[in-house]
Amino acid sequence: MALKIVKGSIDRMFDKNLQDLVRGIRNHKEDEAKYISTCIDEIKQELKQDNIAVKANAVCKLTYLQMLGYDVSWAAFNIVEVMSSSKFTYKRIGYLAASQCFHESTDVIMLTTNQIRKDLSSPNQYDTGVALTGLSCFVTPDLARDLANDIMTLMSHTKPYIRKKAVLIMYKVFLKYPESLRPAFPRLKEKLEDPDPGVQSAAVNVICELARRNPKNYLSLAPLFFKLMTSSTNNWVLIKIIKLFGALTPLEPRLGKKLIEPLTNLIHSTSAMSLLYECVNTVIAGQYWFSLCVQKLRILIEDSDQNLKYLGLLAMSKILKTHPKSVQSHKDLILQCLDDKDESIRLRALDLLYGMVSKKNLMEIVKKLMLHVDKAEGTTYRDELLTKIIDICSQSNYQYITNFEWYISILVELTRLEGTRHGHLIASQMLDVAIRVKAIRVFAVAQMATLLDNAHLLTGNMQRNGICEVLYAAAWICGEFSEHLENPMQTLEAMLRPKVATLPGHIQAVYVQNAAKLFATILKSQEGNTDSTAAQDTSQLMIDRLPLFVQSANLEVQERASCILQLVKYIQKLQQKDVEVAEEVNALFAGELNPVAPKAQKKVPVPEGLDLDAWINEPPSESESEDEQPKAIFAKEEPKHSRPRHTEVDEKELARRREARKQEQANNPFYIKASPSSQKVLSIFLKSCLVLCPTGLPMSDQYVKLEEERRQKERAEKKKKEKKKRKEKRSGRGKKHDSGPESEEDITPAHQVDIVTEEMPENALPSDDDDKDPNDPHKALDIDLDKPLADSEKLPVRSHRAAEAAKSPAEDGETENATSLEPKKKSSKEKREKKKDKDRDRKVMVKCWIHHWDCKSSKHKKKKQKKEKEEKEKKKKKKHHHHHHHSDGGGEESVQNGTVEEEEPLPVSLSHRLINPQVVYDIQGNLQDGSQVVVSVIFENKCDSFLKSMEFNVLDSLNSKLQRPEGSGPHDGLTVPFQLPPGVSNEARFVFTVQSIVMPQKLKGTLTFIVKVDSSTHEKLDFKLHFTCTSYLITTPCYSDAFAKLLESGDLKGSSVRLEGVNMPFHHLLARICFHHHFSIVERIDSCASMYSRSIQGHHVCLLVKTSGQTVSIDAKCDEPTLLGNVLDEIKQTFSQC
């Protein structure tokens, strides 16, 4: 063994370390790959050795190689080995390597759970730190679930170094395990006020990150952040907080008003540009003093510093979204930025342009952009320009386009761009315009035919550019609207050129399909003539050219081509027999297609009684391949469209063709639609049909000129009309009428364009969340944090008998699971489950719930005479009402297992108005401080009027005192920090100091508040808080050996109780005790179980529960006999009520 170690260390002397490796790689520039592969072989040898130092060295080198792009996942296990080394040096290397190359599907991560847990609880803070840092990079949902509790504990670690890391990593944990957010949130909130600035900053960081995605849940933190903002001096923290406010202000307008002052102060006082910028940004979000902000931003944009210019434009674009007007006045500046040498700045300026266009200046702006397109180097910027042009033009349903011929010509011009990636974008625009603007079809078809004719210009270098996508659109448009073609024969020939076979498959497919449509149209026109040879020639052309496509490697093309070929052959046969086929062939493609909104399918409501998740057939057996099933379903779902059928064509063929056609339409973003409104005659303002000239004057310019002329003419006409009118009215007067700059409304579109809207299904479900990505991990974190922890999140809470009965089986399952574990089979999963239970218990200590219906609501002295009358009238009603309530309360009592106090006999005569604030409270022991109890009170306003100025006061007893802020007297009430609109409930927490916990207690309290109806009246509500002994107990898990020791120690005093006539299964009984009295099961053998709990002051309470028949005997031991007696009484009461 010793020899082995010596040998190992001798080997080590010759090992390369990281520096040697790097040097070696630099010295082998020629054959780097070869050198590295020998190094990897060496590393593999090193990893096989037992010496951990050698392994660590090897892993360190691997980390470097990983950076160079080598896959090192094969060494994952060795990395775990190095991570688990006890030496910090090696551990650090291991975690670094893991953080660089582990990810969710790395299987060895499963092995690390315990190691990480060990490191997290290491006495050395740097071991913990290294583990946290590593974990932050590779945390998985499993790790997050298993370690959430450990990390939460670390958030209260004594060392700030650990605290801040633990706080920060919680964000990652939340993302992977959203259930942890609510339990962890209170502590996270606490950390906002941590004494260490680093921890504070980390907490701000995490909350800002959370709030950014779901701001509305964090509105309640605004006051806290406000305080931080006015007190903090750390610019990082300030920036984060200000950014957070930027997200919150749109939701809460009042916040914005409050922020103005501190933000102004900051803007004037700070020297940090970053802070100033964020302040301005937030002010923008709050939508206040825009003019000021815009001024400030203008200064930024005019700055010589490019960074500031960029940011100025960025902020400007935020204003644009809400207040386009205020940005539009800076058009000059923005157009100037378009000429900036910096691409980032140009891009930002482009973004802004989007909001500045109007009907008037659209052409001018686009012209300018087209110039840029020509000048632009670098395809990225050019592509960006292209998309922007299209965006600008197509925005809000082509709102600003007055002349669609111009637009089509712009699109055609754009096709001359080389190497653009956005061919499909142009194509979809062409399709969209041609389909939806009916008036433009003639023009569009002409243009597209020219495009098809000149396809060679586009496809010259087509393999590497996406522009040939426009041919897809061109072919489709020519085919679909072939009746508008001037020279269909020429187009047909263009579509069947051999060169087409070099186009991408999906485009060829469209070519083939649309060639068939064209063919149909041509046949129709030719059959009208008496000359039948022309028609036969056309068929012959098809038959000659189509075989080229039949040979295509692309299945889609091949299939369509061969079908159409057969069809044409058949037609030819008929033609030779002099049968008129044109009509029938045309019927193949008859019918209008409607544009359907892309979301339409999603919006179809699911009919009642249809369960989409139910199996239609028996679920397939495992062996069946999974993707076969859906196919089968779809085949059955083949749509039954009613279109004229023709017997001569094979039915199947037709179906297939329809399918193909559907397929093709699916590829098109829009389908044609006939809308009844479009039936009206459209005045087409086409002066002359221009032929596309690939060289010479860009033709869109001609349209600009035409449009100018048109507008001028229109203006003139209008003037004339006006003059006429005036003449009619005041003969001869009003000569002076300058046609100043025309205003928006003056410009009427050239075509009375009827833009067809996309179809949506009837009774579509309106929903706004269409755009939300269902996979967004942040969606899961959209959790209401103000709600008190719900039943499912903490221990199940009893409320109604029915609910409880329903709940208990599940609970039993859990307890059984925990108790009936065979000692050998403590698999990690089960352990985890247990752990989870434990977590929950610790996190949330629900003592008891008392539904306390308003018992006494007496009116404050200041009663107004006027109201007295009303009051009396209402009394009758009131009595009834009250009675009802009372019975409600009675129902409640029986459930509350002894914790319910008897209500004082109610003075029914009380002048009780319809104010029913309901007080529900929950007492929680505070683990950290043995003498503190937190009472969470939920106030619910059940009346129809607004409640405000609520004050909560409790009459202190010797033993228990309400904690009041310093400086207030012992009888002052605490202001409840919120107001209650009708029907709203909110929770407030009050801390009580309790000296002795051995006795149950009742505290009397009052809640005073002002009711605002027409005028304000003071009201008072009395209530009682019942502190049971059980509420001082905290579920604490205990292991059987520790339990045995505790019993052996002899410090505990015993007592016992017998319950008769308990008619429930034993595990139900145990669950009940666990549940209502906060015990945990230590061990259970048959009908006997030992249980344990601990009070907040550290008293141990042990129970031995035995059952025989209907009798249950409980032997209990505790170091405080009074407490024990009371707890047993409470348990007894719980069961006496069953």
């Binding site: 370390n17 990281l18 520096q19 790097v22 040097r23 630099r26 130092a53 660590a56 060295n57 980390t63 950076m67 160079l68 792009g69 040096t89 290397i93 670094l96 990810h103 969710e104 740097y126 730190g129 946290l132 840092t133 932050s136 990079c137 170094y161 801040k164 890391k165 920060l168 990593i169 964000y171 990652k172 600035p197 680093g198 900053s201 980390a202 995490v206 800002c208 990150e209 950014r212 750390n234 610019n235 990082w236 920036i239 950014k243 700070t270 940090a272 540009m273 970053s274 910028y277 490019q306 960074n307 960029y310 040498k341 910096d342 691409e343 980032s344 700045i345 891009l347 670098g378 960006e384």
Partner: protein
């Protein structure tokens, strides 16, 4: 959130990569190439922000970078980070790496004195692990952990001392171990005050 931190030289050779979201190795290399391509064609006197890295992030993300002599420091961040703040953070990181090498320069690389600009890169090359450890004290899991320089230095120092007391990774490069440790504290500004650092980077003479 910071999505990635990339440091590469003028030829696009990675010197340090740190992704806070998982990408496979070949994807990582592709991102580096793309980023290098985007960044390297920009002049030094244009702004330090860049959009359009299509591989990493999306519209919400932007690249914030600085170019020092032979190295590009690129941070890929989303909109929750302050642009100018990140620029300052990059400067802070550079400061550290500079400190790291200036000390070493005195210890054992005196010859590199002449090409001081290059030291920074060389240092990164040979001590990638160390640079990572420093970075880990500044940014954790994509979020800024600490901005107080003294605090960062102190933590790095303690950890290096621990490593030294354990004998280091191997005996040979022990001389390098003390590099960070020997950093001269008084030379470091007490706290990163964003306002103190001149953000007009292009006009700032490097080092």
């Amino acid at each position: 959130m910071i999505k990635a931190i990339l440091i590469f030289n003028n030829h696009g050779k990675p010197r340090l990569i740190r992704f806070y979201q998982y990408f496979a190795e070949d994807m990582q290399q592709q991102i580096i190439r793309e980023t290098f391509h985007l960044v390297s064609k920009r002049d030094d006197n244009v702004c330090n922000f860049l959009e359009g890295g299509s591989l990493i992030g999306g519209s919400d993300y932007k690249l914030i970078y600085r170019h020092y002599a032979t190295l590009y420091f690129v941070f890929c961040v989303d909109s929750s980070e302050s642009e100018l703040g990140i620029l300052d953070l990059i400067q802070v990181c550079c400061y550290f790496f500079k400190m790291l090498c200036r000390k070493k320069q005195m210890v054992f690389v005196e010859t590199l004195d002449k090409c001081f600009e290059n030291v920074c890169e060389l240092d990164l090359i040979f001590h990638m692990d160390r640079v990572h450890y420093i970075l880990q004290e500044v940014v954790m899991g994509g979020m800024v952990l600490e901005t107080n320089m003294n605090e960062i230095v102190a933590q790095v120092e303690v950890q290096n001392r621990m490593e030294k007391s354990e004998g280091g990774l191997s005996a040979a490069p022990a001389r390098a171990v003390s590099a960070v440790k020997n950093m001269n504290l008084p030379e470091i500004p007490r706290n990163i005050n964003i306002g103190d650092i001149n953000i007009k980077v292009p006009s700032l003479s490097p080092f």
